[in-house]
Symmetry: C2
């Protein structure tokens, strides 16, 4: 089992170090190889996703990813910016299925912006399509408008698109995931305005006929953004496109109040996957030893379950994380009165001890 | 002053009736003419936006709009569905500037999903571009893919686009609005992924140089969806494109917990405007006399201020609404213990009395 370890920028290194520590105490044989990605890769090699890093990621069974990005790269041309690394990995590895759970841990309910009764026990799984949509659609660019409101003016444009097989495969992933949960899928679209998402709705509906045991609802994206705030627990599995998924999964994760706890995984058709925390690189707290490593540790668990076929090892990590929460240990982001504030490393050590 | 009154579907008729009642007790001379729009127009005339309705709207100084939509039209071809009326009005009247306040009324703070301290005093103004973006961009449709992941497969596509003058004019609107408030604009984009929104960011930045007294921030749409939940009061004026604005303005309005209180207005370059509540047609409660007419009444106030140049009259309505809230009157959607539940008509009457 080969794991490519890509810590990246900001707090990436610190949090990935803890996840690697946790992986190493399981009685499993991994080959782990580390490479540069993001801003640090640009600084060293002139590109956020160097050839060697991409090659390593492709050869590996799974990628354990930290985070990328820092204000200091904001002025770079788009193709050299850190986030291009993550887009490049998704595209080159064909990681079309992004799993983003939004879970509210019992002990952290109070940390949510929402009233506790609205989020206690929250457990949503957002499945975001990750290699299509307007993220990668061609053509795109700048040009002189030939029609529209201001013909002759300078304009910029992008293409949103989805093909039938792209929608079918992500829909199957969602229905299959729902079968292991409460058998309910909400497909989020904007069929009332967009051709792409009328098609999305039609195809998801067709695929749904193969899963008569799973209840399928459709919801417009604007309404979904509202219902997530109003009654988040009304959702179970949400499936949506790349752009709507970007927005809704971030909204949902923030609802839990503890985004520092939330893992994510992105898989391709052969179960190769990239696993990373839902939060970002947080350059403001980098190097201070205070970042929460639990989202990354839980991402490693997801990796064991989805890409490395080690569900028991995944279970062990996940219950160890619950244990340390029960012990009252908290990093600064989730700390509250009556609990014990710990740093990144202590938190990793505590998980290791609990395993 | 000519007002086109378009009640529409669902609760539209009930709520617009109350707003008209309120307008009629001001000592102003209006010419009001009512016409069909939405599903009811489709039923009677075969089109959600009949020629006569569009003509009336174009001739009027302002349109007072109720709401459109009902499940029973879901099976219709897109061009005949109720929401096409609102898209058609926006396009034909050139209503490019949509103002959507998200205000948390002191007396209704408890109704929010969010903890009271996070929303008490909330007052955000979302300015959404309304006639461009992927809503109207051509080409769009279905075809056989020639490239992408599955060449040869059936696909659907849409075009996102913004021209320089489209971005400039909405940016000016936002900066000018910010001057009357706390002089802070957050422009929301997705410049890290989309050509259109890199251009958006560039042009908004340029326009911002004409407003050195206004502070301009840029935020990615996914982050904005999170920050709205985490610290909504960190925003003042938000300016964004049509699609992101659709999602974020709904999210923000739901944060207040009292979407039944929130008006909206959409204006063109000559201050002609369409005014409507932020909530929808709520077919489930239509005809029961329980809908909250206050968002529509406050939309009429917005109309007086922005299109009819009657700011004092607008003030009178707005303070009358505050009065009825202070009297403890509440429709079902905002009712809570210790307040008096009233119906649609009683609420309208109370506002009239308070004026
Ligand atoms: C960094 C950015 C390109 C990326 C995205 O938009 O997909 C991020 O927001 C995410 O959700 O992983
Ligand atoms: C009905 C629909 C077309 C419309 C939109 O997407 O603009 C609505 O959601 C709105 O925000 O007014």
């Amino acid at each position: 089992m080969k794991i490519a370890v890509l810590p990246g920028d900001g707090i990436g290194k610190e949090i990935v170090t803890e996840a690697v520590k946790v992986l190493n105490v399981l009685d499993l044989k991994f080959e782990m190889e580390t490479a540069d990605v993001g801003g640090v890769a640009y600084d060293k090699h002139g590109h956020p996703l160097p050839e060697a890093t991409l090659k390593l990621a492709k050869e590996a069974d799974a990628v354990l990813f930290g985070a990328v990005g820092d204000w200091k790269y904001d002025k770079l041309e788009r193709q050299f910016r850190p986030e291009q690394a993550i887009l490049g990995l998704r595209k080159n590895l064909g990681l079309f299925a992004n799993f983003r759970p939004a879970i509210c841990y019992e002990q952290l309910t109070h940390a949510s912006s929402l009233k506790p009764e609205l989020v206690a026990g929250l457990d949503i799984l957002i499945i975001r399509e990750l290699t299509g949509d307007i993220y990668f659609g061609q053509p795109r660019g700048r040009r002189t408008a030939v029609d529209g409101h201001f013909p002759g003016a300078e304009e910029a444009f992008d293409t949103m698109r989805y093909s039938r097989p792209e929608i079918e495969r992500i829909a199957h992933v969602a229905f299959q995931a729902a079968r292991k949960r409460s058998k309910k899928v909400t497909s989020v679209d904007k069929a009332n305005v967009l051709e792409t998402f009328q098609f999305w709705k039609d195809v998801v509906t067709e695929v749904g006929q193969h899963y008569p045991d799973v209840k399928l609802d459709h919801m417009y994206v604007d309404n979904a953004a509202m219902q997530l705030v109003k009654q988040p627990k009304s959702f179970d599995v949400i499936v949506t496109g790349n752009m709507f998924g970007d927005i809704l999964s971030d909204e949902a994760s923030m609802l839990t109040g503890s985004i520092g706890m939330l893992p994510s995984g992105s898989m391709n058709a052969t179960s190769q996957g990239l696993y990373e925390p839902s939060h970002g690189s947080a350059p403001d707290i980098a190097g201070k030893g205070i970042a929460n490593p639990l989202a990354t540790i839980l991402s490693a668990a997801m990796m064991l379950r989805f890409s490395l076929n080690q569900p028991q090892a995944a279970d062990r990590i996940e219950s160890a994380v619950k244990d340390v929460l029960s012990q009252g240990l908290r990093t600064a982001d989730i700390h509250s009165e009556g609990t014990t504030k710990v740093g990144t490393q202590q938190m990793g050590d505590a998980v290791v001890a609990a395993i």
